[in-house]
């Protein structure tokens, strides 16, 4: 952290550093983790709306037997892009938004460890997403599923899967850089006194996620490079005709893909672990159990990948081993569920919208978790695999768990980020629309799957008797969409209202509630010294003899800082170079498809970005 600045005159640079910290242009050059967090969140939410529209297209197509809305080829593109969008362009970057914004505030830091690298991650994620979506106008979007199984993905003649390989490589580089950055931030930037067991659970889960990213992304990077080379340069990695093995793709993909599942859900687990204690007015039950089960989920998550491949014929020994490891990973997950329930037990419960989303998230996640355990039983999985039962399972986990967790986090931290409250009434309407909608949509899919409806099918004949439950699912999906629309109305009207949110609207427990809403650019006037887990709570309350919280007698130092001072604190200045470098990498991506000259232009731009970055004067 360049917290000690050198005056500009003493370090003359080739190029001036941008100086604007407000206005439109400042958003392009910002290195402030809070602004980057907002950019991540806004971009991810737009992708969420696009991915949601794709889901509505899918459900409209399947609302009737022999649906004619989409052709088979269009349907392939829409369901593939729906999956890619929701996984790589919504849930992952939305988690990155929360982690970016909240980690420095929750550990008492002024920014992340590498602010410009943080901006680079954001821009590269944005350009990677735009790159993927540009394929719709450049000959066809990816159409081989988000898992891109070979050899279908290597032999398909449309350019879609080339965009898939390159787009995910770009997003992967962004995530790797982000993982290293946020991982180092948690390890190295904690406030004085914040030992590892005083770190909030959300930050802990963030750290586990960054480690999962750092060690699983290189594996899919190799898989995507091999896919790209097979498609573009005539290699034979996945070509059975000359001895290649398509199963190599599945192993590499799921060796990344299963940790990815935990990358998607653990931030939501972190949100539950923050929201439930605050609205139960109790500390998290078994903090260390929750932390250690999160860590063990991270480790075991690397040892279960072949449960996605039971039906490909790995043999009874491998299937049994992976069946057992899959059943085992349910244990630390179950530990967390019980911890959350015990946290609420006997608590002083307040059912705000944030609390509702957390409780609903835990409950719906449990449904998805239970159907997940049924996949660990290999013979049962033979029946379920590639049917709608699987679709039901992972939507309960990802929508019921991760997306409801994200909305819980949005309602919980919105006042901190924007200085305004979200409407509670509209929030509750949204909650019920989404919970009812998700159960109407994904509940019937269990039945459809057990009736034999296969995944990824673009239509079905009336004679199969699948019509009724498909119609119910379609009604459910539009109910969810109505809920999302209510959120958009709520968000817009909140942002138009006055900035009147207090610093600590929920009687919070962690450091981010100590500073003003929204926080000043330097986060804290004075870096707090931490003496306990739930530091802020202990500054506000002490306990009477029966263990009930009693407010501490008003002492000036215990009050939230108004955030007016801090003029002498030097923060890293804004920079153009992350944007330039990310743009260069995107051009390299297009160049690999459209010609080497473009790739050279992109590489040159990347080099300009890197050297501009390295030589940028560090002065404000």
């Amino acid at each position: 952290m360049s917290s000690v600045s050198v005056p500009a005159e003493e370090r003359p640079g080739l190029l001036r550093r941008p100086t604007a910290v407000t206005g439109l242009w400042s958003w392009f050059t910002t290195v402030d983790h809070k602004k980057i967090g907002i950019l991540y969140g806004l971009t991810a939410f737009v992708f969420f709306l696009v991915g949601g529209l794709e889901a509505l297209l899918i459900r409209s197509q399947l609302a009737q037997p022999n649906g004619k809305l989409l052709t088979a080829a269009q349907y392939d593109q829409v369901f593939t892009m729906h999956g890619l969008t929701m996984v790589f362009l919504f849930v992952m970057p939305m988690s990155a938004a929360f982690l970016n914004y909240m980690i420095p505030l929750m550990i008492g830091a002024r920014d992340v460890a590498f602010p410009r690298l943080n901006a680079f991650s954001y821009w590269l994620f944005l350009f990677g997403g735009l790159f993927l979506y540009s394929s719709f106008f450049l000959g066809g979007a990816p159409n081989g599923g988000w898992f891109g199984y070979a050899p279908n993905s290597t032999t398909d003649p449309s350019p879609g899967m080339t965009f898939y390989a390159l787009g995910l490589l770009l997003a992967g580089i962004a995530s790797t850089a982000g993982a290293i950055n946020l991982g180092v931030t948690v390890l190295n930037m904690r406030a004085p006194g914040m030992s590892f067991f005083r770190v909030p659970v959300f930050v802990w889960m963030g750290l586990v996620v960054q480690m999962l990213l750092a060690f699983s992304l290189p594996i899919i990077t190799v898989a995507l490079i091999e896919l790209l080379f097979d498609r573009r340069f005539g290699t034979h990695f996945f070509d059975p005709a000359v001895g290649g093995d398509p199963l190599l793709w599945q192993h590499l993909f799921w060796l990344f893909g299963h940790p990815e599942v935990y990358i998607l859900i653990l931030p939501a687990f972190g949100i539950f672990s923050e929201v439930l204690p605050v609205f139960s007015r109790k500390p998290l039950f078994g903090y260390q159990f929750v932390v250690f089960s999160g860590i063990s989920i991270g480790f075991i998550g690397f040892g279960v990948w072949a449960h996605h491949m039971f039906a490909v014929g790995l043999g009874p020994v491998a299937n049994t081993a992976f069946g057992i490891s899959t059943a085992i990973i349910a244990v630390p997950t179950g530990v967390k569920i019980f911890n959350w329930m015990a946290t609420m037990h006997g608590g002083d419960l307040r059912f705000t919208t944030a609390m509702l989303f957390s409780v609903g998230g835990v409950m719906n996640f449990v449904i998805g978790g239970l159907s997940g355990v049924t996949h660990a039983i290999v013979p049962a999985d033979y029946q379920q695999t590639d049917t709608y039962y699987i679709v039901a399972h992972f939507h309960y986990v990802l929508f019921g768990g991760a997306v409801l967790g994200i909305f819980s986090g949005l309602f919980y931290w919105w006042p901190k980020v924007f200085g305004r409250m979200l409407g509670e009434k509209l929030g509750k309407v949204q909650f019920w629309l989404m919970v009812i909608g998700l159960n109407l949509t994904f509940g019937p899919m269990h039945i459809l799957g057990l009736q034999g409806m296969i995944r990824r099918t673009y239509t079905y004949p009336a004679s199969l008797g699948l019509t009724f439950w498909n119609q119910v699912a379609t009604v459910g999906s539009f109910t969810i969409a109505a809920g999302v629309l209510v959120f958009v109305v709520n968000a817009v009207s909140s942002l138009r209202g006055p900035k009147d949110a207090p610093a600590d609207p929920w009687d919070g427990r962690t450091l981010e509630w100590m500073t003003s809403s929204p926080p000043p650019v330097h986060n804290f006037d004075e870096i707090p010294t931490v003496h306990a887990l739930d530091e802020f709570w202990h500054r506000k309350y002490t306990e009477d003899k029966s263990g009930r919280p009693v407010p501490v007698q008003a002492g000036a130092s215990e009050q939230p800082h108004p955030g007016g001072g801090g003029h002498e604190i030097h923060l890293p200045g804004p920079s153009y170079w992350p944007l330039v470098g990310a743009l260069g990498l995107q051009l390299v991506g297009y160049g690999i498809i459209y010609g080497w000259w473009l790739a050279f232009v992109g590489a040159a731009l990347l080099l300009v970005g890197v050297f501009g970055w390295a030589l940028e004067p560090s002065a404000e």
Binding site: M1, S2, S3, V4, A113, F114, R116, L117, T176, A179, I180, N181, G183, V184, L187, N188, M189, R190, M194, A214, F215, S216, L217, P218, I219, T221, V222, A223, I225, E226, F229, F233, G234, T235, H236, F237, V242, G243, G244, D245, L248, L252, V610, F611, W613, A614, L615, E616, S618
Partner: protein
């Protein structure tokens, strides 16, 4: 990573960090750990397809072990000059530091040049990316390693030119040490690749 190393001049050395390690160093270790899995997956692909090619040229047809041994020793020798460069930079002896950095870069360029020559010869003997699985896996694995070495050379030469332009931080030993970590890592990966790819016989059933 060059930029990260240079920009944070001294990483957290001016600011106490929670672990006591400079943030840049921690980030470099994390990146190298992540890169281990990158090469791990590439080497796995190579090993999985050992002896699986249905047509030649096979490894024994093209490999020239003495030639590659020499270029491997050149690359390993560059680790020594890298250490000397770090030591000189930590003594603030910029003259010696430049000499050893340039020597390291020259040894690296000799290795990459040797690799380009080797690739050309293999290609002329009929081995290409698309010829067979050996060609696909060999060129992608060693090519990505060569690209790592090339990036390392670029960072070494940047350090030298930054030192002439007086752009290195007061504590010049720090960025040199960070790039040294990267350089040693790339060398170690080559020891694994050289052993697995060149030295362990393939036992190809085809020939």
């Amino acid at each position: 990573m060059a930029q990260a190393a240079v920009e944070h001049h001294g990483g957290g050395s001016e600011h106490a960090t929670s672990t006591g390690l400079p943030s840049t160093k921690l980030a470099m270790w994390l990146f190298l750990a992540s890169d281990c899995l990158f090469f791990g997956a590439l080497i796995t692909s190579y090993v999985l397809y050992r002896g699986a090619s249905v047509q030649g040229p096979f490894p024994r047809d093209v490999f020239d072990i003495p030639y590659t041994s020499v270029s491997s020793f050149v690359l390993l020798g560059s680790s020594l000059t890298m250490v000397l460069a770090v030591a000189a930079a930590q003594r603030r002896d910029l003259g010696r530091m430049r000499i050893w950095l340039l020597a390291t870069a020259m040894l690296g360029m000799t290795f990459v040049g040797g690799q380009v020559y080797e690739f050309t010869r293999f290609y002329n003997e009929g081995l290409s990316l698309s010829k067979n699985l050996f060609g696909s896996t060999f060129f992608v694995l060693t090519g990505f390693h060569g690209a790592h070495v090339a990036i390392g050379i670029l960072m070494l030469l940047s350090l030298v030119s930054f030192s002439y332009a007086d752009k290195l931080p007061e504590d010049a030993g720090f960025p040199v040490e960070m790039i040294g970590l990267y350089w040693h890592f790339v060398d170690i990966v080559w020891i694994v690749i050289f052993t697995v790819v060149y030295l362990i016989p393939t036992g190809n059933p085809g020939k």
